[in-house]
Symmetry: C2
Amino acid sequence: MEKTDVLVIGGSAAGIVAATSGKCHYADKDFLLIRKENKVLVPCGIPYIFGSLESSDKDVVSDNVLTDAGVRFIVDEVISVDLEKKLCKTKQGLEVSFDKLIFATGSRPVVPKWLNGAELDNVFTIPKDKEYLDSMLEKLVDVKKVVVIGGGFIGVELSDELNKRGKDVTIVEILPHILGRAFDEELAVEAEKVLGSRGVSIKTGKGVKELFGKSKVEAVILEDGERLEADAVVLSVGYAPNTAIASEAGLDLNTLGFIRVDEYMRTRNPDVFAVGDCAEKRDFITRRVSGAMLASIACTEAKIAGMNLYKLSTLKTFSGTIAIFSTIVGETGFGSAGLNEANARREGFDVLSGTFTGVDKHPGTLPGTHKQIVKLIAARESGVVLGGEVIAGPSAGELTNIIGLIIQNKMTINNILTSQIGTHPLLTGPPTAYSIIKAAEDVMRCKGDL
Amino acid sequence: MEKTDVLVIGGSAAGIVAATSGKCHYADKDFLLIRKENKVLVPCGIPYIFGSLESSDKDVVSDNVLTDAGVRFIVDEVISVDLEKKLCKTKQGLEVSFDKLIFATGSRPVVPKWLNGAELDNVFTIPKDKEYLDSMLEKLVDVKKVVVIGGGFIGVELSDELNKRGKDVTIVEILPHILGRAFDEELAVEAEKVLGSRGVSIKTGKGVKELFGKSKVEAVILEDGERLEADAVVLSVGYAPNTAIASEAGLDLNTLGFIRVDEYMRTRNPDVFAVGDCAEKRDFITRRVSGAMLASIACTEAKIAGMNLYKLSTLKTFSGTIAIFSTIVGETGFGSAGLNEANARREGFDVLSGTFTGVDKHPGTLPGTHKQIVKLIAARESGVVLGGEVIAGPSAGELTNIIGLIIQNKMTINNILTSQIGTHPLLTGPPTAYSIIKAAEDVMRCKGDL
């Protein structure tokens, strides 16, 4: 029988941050983290073990992060939790009593039940599981033709990386465009151009009917009958929250299957928290329950849980989740924060949008200058920014974070117009035409104020 | 006799943006810009014409920016303004009547009056003057030893660029460290390490006594008697606002010599505006008059003037200037926004600071990963962020802009702790250790809350 004050189930980003920031705030409490994985992968780095990183060993989170912070950990699997007795049981027969419990059980790749052939050899998913991925990497060595099903961020990153390794890659997406949930059409088309120019074949607006093969997969059959030869198939069609133990313990799940939590990441039981991919999120703007799963969101939630374990010490100054994505294909970074225009309209918002195309250095004659496109979406009456999209060079990630901060601060287009920024020839666009401010001007122009 | 609705004096960043954004808002008005320069240089690009750009021709602002926006321009020099008659006279004998007037007359390099030898051949300053700089570039071709006096941003950038061209460069700074106005000591030292490792000699805490030579400069004599051999000397010790015409026209100057303006960049005369380097600024935090001169500040002011020429149409949502700087030496970017810790303490603020050293990609094993240091300075009681400093890779500029936005939104350390950011392996630091949030945690630790 093991005893702890705070038990964290799950050892990926959410679990690590919940435990370490909790320990930091409540140093006199004992923190125990139980995780299934022998070694934990940096989650967002996973697509890069297929190309840029030479091996998954370069994508491992050091256990020192936990031990240096004074958090104990056990490699084992929690199989049940008794919330009344405050006791959990593990696969290896351990019993752990706790005072506070944090679910950070993450998510797993979805395999559509209706998909025939998903059980064939060389059909893979992308779980956060080092052993699985190492074996997959090995099997991919001699493979030539790979079909990636799903053109979201992971599918796109993986396709580009496999392409770098010399594979013949085709990406199949059922929506009209890749990255179509994050980007409006005109920006998604740019992503397709970049990915296509690097040698990845892109098939959009195409559903998959089945996977074909004897023991090993041989082809992907599309709904329109087209047959794509394949030595391997990667399914990247989404992730489902791991909530079985929480649900069996009597905690509520929401309509999307996430563990219900309040603003401080507490379940109905004030001693039990949930954070990360398994925890409920509401969209910052639409207030709808959201299925967003990002390590950055997980870490923010984990920090909030960690700080508020024993008392609500930290007033959470935002309410709701903003999906802030970024990625890079070749030299071109893509980012998105909040609602895109199509989604905003679908939600019923009366919106204005504005776009500016500039450069990321100035003068644009400087070597290494990259095109920079910023689109902003704002509510027509209030002018409050609802979302933004970015195409840029290496600063695309932080530029997207600026838009994320604009949304969180409920800044209006007018606020942006009169905002102060810093510029430098080699680091940013020009002071006369800083993309975010110029995009705001373009929004005003739509409104007729310019 | 020429007639216009809005006359803009000065054709650099401030003048261009005031005229074009004014025209954009008041399309039925005639806008005329008068400038001295035949060709206008991108101001922040000037240090780079000495290295990265092959010629000043690559650093020219196209006149299309004006003409495409419907702004007329004349190359001439305004020599006097009669505010009562609303009339100005030029060097070439032109008379121009106007309804509204915008001073965007900029600044000029300071040459200390007490400095003997400043008149010698091969002693240069860095004015925003293409002819002067082209001739200087030519004279520098055969020069070997260059001494740059002044270790601010321009001095540092220039030294690095001249060093790239194979010059033997020494930078002399009277303060204890280069970039010492923007950065606290521990970060300034990093800048010195980077610049030094690239081959620039750095002499700090050294005043200059005089420049020595017959007709051409031969040496710089320091106050402590040391003699630095020099084939050329560049004085980069500051800029003074060009306000003679404004002053002669009866407008008020403040104690630092800038044209007095209100929040909407209007002088005491509601038809006369001043923007950019010649216009008064107050510090966002200290409320003191500020001598900051940055193209980015100039453009914000110019936009505000342009929008509010005929009516106060745009509520300015901030009050006061935040100096937001960034630069890059080799592969290392440096940025600073608001007050640094030393300045904040000097102003009498009771401050807390926190610093985090991380990486700009994740995992840090990814090729091209750069160290990232973020320091935040906050008021102890309120937790409001007063300033921040950044050392990073190519995202240093936008990371500094994030801090600038944090200051403008009067965000507290607690706001930052619970902020949402987006991360990507190749574009940002890790979600578990995003530098700005970790620096905020370090501030909390100082406060004893962690």
